[in-house]
Each structure stands twice: as structure tokens, then as C-alpha cells.
Symmetry: C2
Subunit: 249 residues, 2 copies
DNA sequence: CGTCCCGTTGATCCCTATCAAATGTAGTGG
DNA sequence: CCACTACATTTGATAGGGATCAACGGGACG
């Protein structure tokens, strides 16, 4: 059975880096593509982990729900990343829920295939380990930030990461590529939508950002970097001379 | 070349589970054992990742240091666990520092061996992936807690985890197996030693724990569990008054 | 054009970090 | 064995960052 998924779609994904073409073709022959609308859920916390996925297009969020019903965004998935690999870690169920924040396209494989991929191709195993390792790093970074930084720093960092991974240059500045609410930013930074709103308003007044409904555009990246690093913002200095070097989400 | 490390030492470690004996012997022949005194550092954040390790005996802490010099404990290493596998994630340097909190014994391998292990034995690769996956889970859980829970809950959970992984039954209750300071508990829970001290004092007054210098003994595990889940406790501090009533609004 | 959502803003409160000292405890060397 | 020192812990007082409570304004979409 042959699909019409072009090999080029997965060839450049980190997970399949340096995997021989013939193996890629096998991989693709089993893949099932899925289209998701904004708000559609890919899987729910606690569900049986029957598939694992790669995001081809769009944006997803991975949420953990607390006993009290609060939601914490554990991760943002950007195109090219694997997600839902619970089975790879020998967990029977998904530890979090995954929801599309905009129209998205994913590839899905039955979890059982994971072991085949692993045993069939050593490069694949190493790639997977690296991907998970990177996420562990990111998680540790976030723990450090939650433990030691103030809300304003964390929100600034969050915005910086978003424009880093999903920024788009516009006439007004660098815009976040996809719709995002104050509530979602709050879930990413461990605060409330009220506080995020106040911060964005203050930044807007100072000319650092332009805000809109589900929209954030950064005008002065280096001022934001300064905030992220906890440095006080002195005067209304102009700005456009720094590189964005922020760790991903 | 033969070492005097008995095969049984590593045979039951998660990392080497289901790895054939002949491979184990190879592994052991390369391993270098090291003894550490309390306070000795195994590696420092930023250092070249020249080895990876398994803890055989004792306790280590893994710390990240912030730009301002504050320390955050990202992980506690207990006997049987791997650590320092930066190279496995293709990072050239260690992302954190690792320090012994008491006398400990570790096995060390040159980082270059990692790839040999990975390619030589698929089971090993799968084990490693699972181990890192488990840690990712734990990190996510911690992020959730830091984001949504109050300090008392977090500290309660922290103590519970410690007695879970390193608890020792004594006449007085369940004691944490190794010396631990208020400062260290604070670094694990994202708070200050002052707040930890106040909490432990309050718990002591209510008979939940016995405290001492670098020592915590839990007397009423289930009350602590209740605290960890955010339920208020009403019981008066006397010896064995069981709880019978709570009705928060 | 009405109805959700999303966002903004004010007022208030309280948890917890901070600042500041005093007390206790292990370890060491004379 | 004791004095000395370094480190751990406790506790009080104070202040402030954000959460929480409460309304209202505004854009999008059916």
C-alpha cells in the first residue's frame, strides 16, 4: 500500500535525521496523516497511548490538568517535533492532553511501530533519545525559572521563546505566528491571565509590544531581553541591536 | 583487564535490565569506581562532559546555578540511577553541577563508551530512553506543582517523595535516610530556608514530624499526604488523636 | 445585532520573601 | 574535656508581589 506522503516531508525532521531512505519509505508507508481544527484534541490525559505523532504544520499545546481542574501548559509543539511517545517510555497512557491551537496537520503511527523503528534503525533510537533529552533540559530550565524568577521575567522569556520558534517579521515588528490568548501565556508561565494582561498593557504603554486579541507583536526585542534577565528598564531608549538567544520552550 | 566489580552490582540496575551477561562484563571491564565524600563534586555545570555515571551508594544532588548565584536542585540521585549522560543527548558540556550530599560511591565510564553501549545493545538504548522519559515526567510534574500549588503542599510532597525513595523505618517513624538541610529542601521546592523552617516547626508542633539538624522523621504520613493534596488539617497536636472532622466551606 | 469570548482595570488581601538576630549543634584543636 | 568556630535552625517584624474578587469594554462570528 502506498501513501502519497512525499519522503521530503519527514526527511528533514530531527527524529529521522540520518535515517536511510529505504527505512524512511517504510516509515511513511505506515504513517497516517490527520488534519485538526483549532481546539481539536489529539489525545487526552490518561487515554491509552495508541499512537505517536509528528507535527507537520500548525501549533499544538500539551496540557496537564491538576486535581482542581487548573491547566498547566507543559509544552508547545512546533512543526517538526514528535509528541505522544508515551509508549516509548513504557507508559501505557498519555500523561497529558494535547490540543491544536490552530489548524494543524500531524502524522500518526501506531505505538507498536515504535519498537520496530527502534530496533530497525539505531540512528532512530539515538535521535529519539536526543529529542527527549532536549525536552528534559527545557523542563529543567523552566523549573529553575519558576523557582527563582519573578512573573515579569518569566512572561518576557516566554514571549521571547515564542517569537524565537514561531516569530514572523511584520511591518510592526516580530509577531507570534499563531493565535495565543492571555490565558495560554498564563498557563505557560505559572501565573494568571490578569497578571499577564497587566504586564502586556504596561509593555504596550512603553512601546515594547503591540497587542491585540490573541495577538502579540514585539517591537523592541532587546528591551524585552533586558526584562527577561531581570535588569531594570531605565529610559525609553531605542533599540534594535541584539541577537535573540533564548532557550526554547 | 579485569576489575573486581562484581557483576551483581549492575545487573539489577534499570539501565542494564535485560542486558546479556557477556555485554555486562564488557561494561564492567571499562567502569571505573569512585568514592566521594560529602560535599565532593562529581562534575560542574559547563564542564566538558567526559564521563557518565551510575550511583551505587549514597546520595547526590544535581544543581543548576542561576545568573544571580541562586541554586536550584533539579534532581536528587538515588542509588541505581544514571546521571551525567549529557553526551547521550549530544551536549558537549554538563548542564548542571552534581554534588555528593553524603559519602557515596559511583561508577564512571568515558562518554565515548555511551555510543558503543547504544549500538552494541538495543535493550540498553531502550532502557536509557525510558530512564530519561521518566525524568521528563517527573520534571513536568514538578512544573505543574510549582505553577499551581502553595509552598506548604510542595514541601509536604517533597518530604513524602524523599521518604518514598530514601525512607528508613525507625522507632520514631519514617526517617529520611541521609542528612538534608532546610536549605536543600528549599532548593527543591522553590522557596526559602526560612519558610521551610517555619513549616517544619509548625508540623513538629502538631506532631506530624520530628526534626533535627539535617534530619527529618515523619510520624504521621497520612496527615502529610493530606497536606500535600491541599486539604487543611484540623487535628490537635496531641499524640494519637485521629482526625475526625473537617469541613472547609 | 446579539452573544460569546477575550481582554482590561480597579480594589483588596494574604502568602511568602526579606531583613535581622538570637539560639543550637557538630566538629576541631589545644 | 572545653573553648572556639562554623554552620544550621528558629523566630520576629515588615513589606510587597501577585492572586483573587468584581465589573466593564470590545471585537468576532453566527
Amino acid at each position: 500500500m502506498s501513501t502519497n506522503i512525499p519522503r521530503s516531508l519527514v526527511k528533514n525532521l530531527d527524529l529521522f535525521r540520518a535515517v536511510p531512505d529505504k527505512d524512511l519509505d517504510t516509515v511513511l508507508s505506515i504513517a497516517r496523516p490527520m488534519r485538526l481544527n483549532a481546539g481539536d484534541s489529539v489525545f487526552q490525559q490518561g487515554q491509552n497511548a495508541e499512537h505517536f505523532f509528528v507535527l507537520l504544520h500548525g501549533h499544538l499545546k500539551v496540557l496537564q490538568t491538576t486535581a482542581e481542574g487548573e491547566q498547566v501548559m507543559v509544552r508547545y509543539v512546533i512543526p517538526g517535533e514528535v509528541f505522544g511517545i508515551a509508549k516509548a517510555m513504557r507508559r501505557p497512557t498519555y500523561p497529558a492532553s494535547c490540543v491544536a491551537v490552530e489548524e494543524s496537520i500531524v502524522l500518526a503511527w501506531p505505538s507498536a511501530e515504535w519498537d520496530r523503528f527502534m530496533t530497525g534503525n539505531l540512528q532512530f533510537a539515538a535521535n529519539a533519545l536526543q529529542a527527549v533529552g532536549q525536552r528534559l533540559q527545557d523542563a529543567h530550565t523552566r523549573i529553575k525559572e519558576l523557582s527563582t524568577e519573578e512573573v515579569e521575567q518569566r512572561v518576557a522569556r516566554c514571549i521571547l521563546r515564542l517569537i524565537d520558534s514561531s516569530g514572523e517579521k511584520t511591518d510592526d515588528g516580530i509577531a507570534i505566528n499563531f493565535p495565543i490568548t492571555r490565558q495560554e501565556i498564563a498557563e505557560m508561565t505559572g501565573t494568571t491571565l490578569h497578571t499577564v494582561s497587566r504586564l502586556l498593557s504596561a509593555w504596550k504603554d512603553r512601546g515594547l509590544v503591540i497587542t491585540g486579541r490573541k495577538r502579540v507583536v514585539v517591537r523592541k526585542v532587546d528591551d524585552l531581553i533586558r526584562l527577561a534577565e531581570g535588569e531594570p528598564i531605565e529610559s525609553a531608549g531605542n533599540s534594535s541591536t541584539r541577537k535573540s538567544s533564548v532557550q526554547p520552550l
